[in-house]
């Protein structure tokens, strides 16, 4: 297999889009192409990550539609739908296409426009990820699954509501440094949990998870341009190497897992990515984890292997995961505050790592990063993609 590098990366503003999904995706794609400094005709294939355009935006075959919108004919084009892990899945498929030698230049775009429907519909649509007959028909939602998971995790490891709030406070603070983030608003512990007014400020959504423990419903798009390492000199930006990718699956229904607090797919995908990159968790300079709910950042930080079992919240307490800490997690603001347009999320995590490794992350720049890790978590951990990016030699 050939080594594959990221030669262009871009994201749109996350939040509520003024534009159609296609225009959002085109904006991100154009940004990545411009970032790489290449002509469009050099692109061989386009992979588009999206979860709900057919339902929410009345547009199926989104990859074909994007090619048409951008006048990229006759490139090959595929849509990748893998729930909230669609983004990293699309990057993986783009990687495979370049690594195999089938294509030299692949554009990967992830996008979602969720605010075209109201919040009830958006929650309903995301609930399609659950097991149709064991979960969905009983009214389960992703916040409900995360709430039950959080309760178990808190009982097992002594995590408190304050720890969950600390994740939210950290990621909101990071998002203030990210011009593309959805939520640009600091939050504070007292108003979240310790004031008589907290019940109204931060009501329960799915006990023990509260309003500020949950990511927003966002629109947005992100894109990367992939090429073989030996052609990297043809592009204007420092190439960032995709050094490891791992993917794994788990039972769709969470209750079928021997221990619901063990995210087997996270562990397996991470282990595979580290093995491919010939790296260990201690080698990682920064990570973008899938904090759709605050508890997930804590749980994933352990199950990826960054911290021992039951100690993710202790690392958080010590400030290890702050931008200035030893292992910054979600310097972008994460899904919690940067936002979570589901199809875009995995690609945007990769964009963030690429910008950080290039030293182009502005006010949220992590000091001298060498290797970055991204975890894109589909369903409730039933399909997980881990990606490791590295600075070139």
């Amino acid at each position: 297999m050939r080594d594959v590098v990221i030669v262009g990366a871009a994201t749109t503003q996350f939040g509520r889009a003024q534009w159609s999904l296609l225009k959002l995706m085109a904006e991100a794609a154009h940004g990545a192409i411009t970032d790489a400094g290449i002509e469009r005709k050099k692109i061989d294939a386009v992979y588009v990550a999206n979860m709900g355009s057919a339902r929410n935006n009345r547009q199926a075959g989104i990859a074909s539609a994007l090619v048409d919108r951008m006048n990229l004919y006759p490139v090959a084009a595929d849509t990748i739908e893998n729930g909230p892990a669609s983004g990293a899945s699309a990057v993986k498929n783009g990687f495979l296409a370049v690594a195999s030698g089938m294509y030299d230049c692949v554009l990967v775009v992830g996008g979602e426009r969720m605010q075209e429907v109201n919040n009830f519909e958006a929650t309903e649509f995301v609930s399609y990820l659950s097991h149709r007959f064991a979960e969905y028909i009983y009214g389960i939602t992703l916040p409900a699954l995360a709430g039950m998971f959080a309760r178990l995790w808190m009982q097992k490891y002594g995590v408190t509501s304050e720890h969950l709030a600390m994740v939210a406070i950290k990621n909101h603070a990071n998002a203030l440094l990210n011009p593309a983030s959805h939520l640009k608003m600091p939050i504070a512990m007292e108003g979240l949990l310790h004031s008589p007014d907290s019940a109204m400020n931060n009501p329960f959504v799915a006990d023990p998870l509260r309003f500020f423990d949950c990511c927003p419903v966002s629109d947005g798009a992100a894109a990367v341009l992939l090429a073989p390492a030996d052609l990297a000199k043809n592009f204007k930006k420092t190439p960032i190497v995709i050094s490891g990718i791992g993917q794994a699956t788990d039972t769709q229904a969470v209750h079928e897992r021997p221990d619901p607090t063990v995210l087997t797919a996270v562990q397996t995908a991470s282990r595979k990515a580290f093995a491919m990159a010939k790296l260990e968790p201690k080698d990682i300079s920064l990570a973008e984890l899938h904090d759709a709910f605050t508890i997930l950042e804590i749980a994933q930080s352990e199950q990826v292997g960054f911290f021992p079992e039951g100690e993710g919240h202790l690392a958080l307490e010590r400030g290890v995961t702050q931008i200035t800490g030893k292992l910054p997690i979600n310097a972008s603001g994460g899904l919690k505050a940067k936002g979570h347009p589901v199809g875009a999320t995995g690609v945007s995590q990769i964009v963030e790592l690429a910008l950080q490794l290039r030293g182009e992350a502005g006010k949220r720049q992590v000091k001298n990063p060498r290797h970055g890790f991204a975890l894109n978590f589909g369903g409730f951990g039933n399909n997980v993609v881990a990606t490791i990016l590295s600075k070139g030699a």
């Binding site: 109201n118 939520l183 979240l192």
Partner: protein, 229 residues
């Protein structure tokens, strides 16, 4: 000196108990003072609302235009027993709610407008409005309609309000929903926040009301600047 004709144009008034100011600690650590606005303060409220009347985002245009008219009507003494509560953070206007007494026992909720979003300011202010009607004006019912899906979720579902479709709410088309004393007191511990009295230094800082910077406000509300400036 009011002339005879003007006196005839003005509606008769019922006595209205004042709303005692309170303070609420928000999720971002800032403190919001919720207090009555006076007629002297209407002009600054109108100035703040004015750019929102054409903002096609989450029904800000409808709510902005109607609230503007209601407050202007209040200022010019054309609405009977109207009141207005404001949320003020460090002197800056964060939100407005208004309503009026229909009669001694029935209140009418008009509008809720948030100028600083994401901190549940609208929810706090709506709850304050219900508190005013039930606890201070001593009314039995408040009639309510929502003009946006956000309002419907916050009021009809969150309280939850009861349908009272036999009542025609004076805001127009939609049938009315109602908050009764019973519903209010059931929801109070969950939805009504704030502490009294407001420390003197905080209350003092809530005067005079300063309108938010237009750019900041529009970014907060989620409109592109190019569309408005």
């Amino acid at each position: 000196m009011m002339d005879h004709l003007e006196a005839m144009l003005r509606p008769p008034k019922l006595d209205m108990a004042p709303y005692p100011a309170k303070h609420i600690l928000l999720a971002n650590g800032e403190t919001m003072v919720v207090r009555s606005a006076s007629l002297d303060e209407v002009d600054v409220l109108l100035d703040a609302i004015d750019p929102l009347r054409t903002l096609d985002r989450d029904f800000y245009d409808v709510v902005g235009a109607r609230l503007y008219a209601e407050l202007l009507g209040w200022k010019r003494h054309r609405v009977r027993n109207e009141y207005c509560l404001v949320g003020v953070i460090d002197g800056e206007l964060a939100g407005i709610v208004n309503g009026r007494m229909f009669d001694e026992k029935h209140g009418i909720s008009y509008h809720t407008l948030t100028l600083k979003r994401g901190l549940r300011i609208g929810a706090h202010l709506f709850a304050s409005k219900m508190e005013h009607h039930i606890e201070y004006l001593g009314q039995d019912e408040v009639w309510i309609v929502a003009e946006s899906p956000i309002g419907h979720r916050r009021w009809m579902i969150e309280y939850p309000l009861q349908q009272k479709f036999s009542i025609q709410h004076e805001l127009g088309g939609a049938p009315s929903w109602v908050l009764t004393r019973e519903t209010y007191f059931k929801a109070k511990s969950r939805l009504v926040s704030g502490a009294r009295p407001v420390p003197a230094h905080l209350l003092e800082k809530s005067y005079p009301i300063r309108k938010p910077d237009l750019r900041t406000m529009l970014i907060q509300i989620g409109e592109t600047l190019e569309a408005k400036l």
